[in-house]
């Protein structure tokens, strides 16, 4: 089987993987040293990585620009919230709801995909953008005549993940080591992320992934080569949406409170920016893009204010303004200097060992 990271030095690669794994394992404890908030920030960053990887299937692999992706996150989040909160008095376990949420999001993906099959580029972007807004407005207004979503007030008191007596929201001590709720979620998110990365890599290097990339490159040629572009596009929407649904369910459980405000258009655009900044179609690039756009604003939040205080003795510019300014400048610079992203989609070289011994075609 092909390794996750192809390399000429398998030993060095293995050592690298072990080092990264160790670093990721001790990371939350190191972060707790700086401040507990940083573990939460890291958890949110991982959620964004999950979302970006889901959107990458639609945008990066199949080449379908989706500006309403946050809708699937919302669907997953609300599915979890409705099935595990005092709102309806339902308290199903998370390992039941997360697959349901993923499935419901998947259905919404097909729902969005079906009418947009013939659209491309700008037109598709506009329709998907509208779809995202429709979902949010529905969530905002489905409080009457029957109260389903509790409207703009959102849903509170959502159950955290529980596994038997193991509660992800509370602090517990194992062998004298204090493990807070966010740290527990961190490890869970990391595990989910690992699975999602493997699934993405495998999909990309498969018959399905190649069909998506063929559609991205030239839809007419893809059809003429026997690819059922309708089914493949729907599949891309469905797969992307179901990853969004999983991330949404976890978001719901971690926050224990959700409202339509978390699923606004800017969030969709943010995720598209992560995918584009990192490098559409390149899984590692997308991860990098999502981490950068999640962490850098937070770092700025904590450094811009104090820096100004130190330099000028007072706050001259609001940190939020500087954040948006840097964000804008970064995106413009990216488009100018690295239009394909920080880590552009790389050519996949194949070993061709089997092929070399092959016989000539008839």
């Amino acid at each position: 089987m092909r390794a996750l990271i192809p390399t000429k030095h398998p030993l060095a690669a293995k050592a690298g993987v072990v080092l990264i794994a160790l670093a990721l394992a001790v990371l939350p404890f190191a972060l707790t040293g700086i401040g507990t908030a940083w573990v939460r920030i890291t958890n949110l960053a991982i959620l964004y990585v999950l979302l970006s990887l889901g959107l990458n299937i639609v945008v990066g692999f199949a080449g379908l620009l989706d500006l309403g992706y946050i809708a699937f996150y919302a669907v997953g989040a609300y599915t979890y919230a409705l099935l595990a909160s005092p709102h309806f008095g339902l308290h199903l376990p998370f390992w039941v709801i997360i697959p349901i949420g993923s499935l419901v999001a998947c259905m919404f993906g097909v729902l969005l995909g079906t009418p947009t099959l013939k659209l491309r580029g700008d037109y598709l972007a506009i329709v998907t953008l509208g779809f995202g807004e429709i979902i949010r407005i529905f969530l905002n207004n489905l409080s009457q005549p029957v109260n389903i979503t509790n409207g703009a007030q959102g849903i509170a008191g959502i159950d955290p993940f529980r596994f038997g007596s193991f509660d992800f929201a509370t602090t517990s001590a194992i062998d004298g080591v204090t493990i807070t709720g966010p740290i527990k979620y961190y490890y869970l998110l990391l595990a989910v992320l690992l699975v999602v990365i493997v699934v993405n890599l495998r999909l990309q290097n498969s018959r399905i992934g190649r069909a998506w990339e063929a559609i991205r490159e030239d839809e007419i040629a893809a059809r003429a080569m026997g690819i059922n572009t309708r089914n493949m596009k729907l599949l891309a929407f469905a797969m992307g949406a179901s990853f969004g649904g999983i991330a949404g369910g976890m978001f719901s459980a971690i926050q224990q409170f959700i409202s339509p405000e978390s699923f606004v258009l800017v969030e969709s655009i943010n995720i598209v920016a992560m995918v584009v900044l990192g490098g559409m179609g390149n899984i590692w690039g997308v991860i990098l893009g999502a981490l950068l756009l999640s962490f850098v604003p937070e770092v700025l939040r904590y450094t811009v204010g104090p820096t100004q205080q130190a330099l000028f003795g007072r706050m001259l510019i609001d940190p939020e303004v500087i954040r948006m300014l840097l964000f804008g400048v970064t995106l413009v610079a990216m488009m100018l200097f690295r239009p394909a992203g920080l880590l552009p989609s790389a050519l996949r070289k194949r070993e061709l060992e089997t092929a070399r011994n092959g016989t000539a075609a008839p």
Binding site: S206, R207, A221, M225, G226, I227, L347, R350
Partner: protein
């Protein structure tokens, strides 16, 4: 219809607004032949390809392939039936490697599903190996295997044309429809292409060839169909067609003799 018939076109008509792109074109392609389709620019050759491969529906008439009608089939269904094509303006998957381009061509003959791809079970792995092996063999067959790991868009023009043929062959076609494969090739490349066409035919694939290079058409085609303004003006053995008054007139306005000496 006898055993040797592969494709029958019957009264194919196609209009684009007021333009009559094809009017009642009828012809028969036999198994194992190289069938030429020629005509001046705008004669309707590519339109005929697009109707045949399901990109446009015909307004009237129908194609019968291996005894079954192709009416109303979508392009991917036509490919599944066994007709593969190339494009006049090369349409490769530019940002995939040459090998991956050909591997995409195997899509229609393979079966791995999403679950198979995710769990990578033994069947999927074996299929993936077979796809790669077959794709590489096809690259060798058309002579582009040294560039297997290069992006399709980095290939030389002639290699891109050959890669398109390899990609089409990967769908295991019984009929290979080539739209001006020699366009932009120099004399050496064209000669090599001719050999490739001959060996494809020898290996059992029938070829429908649109081509402007008359030397190539006259030397490889068993029979030729001439279109002008969407109508069939001549059909027959290459040697006869090149002497046809109407054909000469269509190409050259009847003033100059067509130089189509056998290469």
């Amino acid at each position: 219809m006898d055993e040797s018939t592969l494709l029958v076109a019957d009264g194919i008509t196609k209009r684009f607004g007021g333009v009559q792109a094809l009017s009642e074109v009828a012809f028969t392609i036999r198994k194992g032949e190289i069938y030429g389709l020629i005509g001046p620019n705008g004669a309707g050759k590519t339109s005929l390809f697009n109707v045949l491969t399901g990109i446009y529906p015909a307004d009237e008439g129908s194609f019968t392939f291996e005894g079954r009608a192709l009416d109303g089939l979508k392009p991917h269904e036509v490919a599944a039936r066994g007709i593969a094509r190339t494009f006049q303006n090369i349409r490769l998957f530019a940002n995939l490697s040459a090998l991956e381009n050909v591997m995409v061509g195997r899509h229609v003959r393979t079966h791995a599903t999403v679950l198979g791809a995710i769990f990578r079970n033994a069947g999927t792995k074996a299929e993936e190996r077979a796809i790669e092996k077959r794709a590489y063999a096809l690259l060798e067959y058309v002579g582009v295997h040294r560039r297997a790991n290069d992006l399709a868009r980095h290939l030389a023009y002639g290699d891109q044309r050959r890669l398109e043929i390899a990609r089409a062959l990967a769908t295991d076609p019984r009929l290979l429809a080539l739209d001006e494969p020699a366009a932009g090739m120099n004399a050496t490349e064209t000669a090599a292409l001719r050999e490739l066409l001959e060996s494809i035919r020898r290996d059992g694939t029938t070829i429908l060839l649109i081509e402007h290079d008359m030397r190539l058409v006259m030397s490889v085609c068993d029979r030729v169909l001439v279109l002008d303004y969407g109508k069939k003006i001549a059909e027959g053995v290459a040697a006869d067609v090149q002497k046809d008054e109407k054909v000469i007139a269509a190409y050259l306005g009847g003033e100059v003799r067509l130089d189509v000496a056998r290469a």
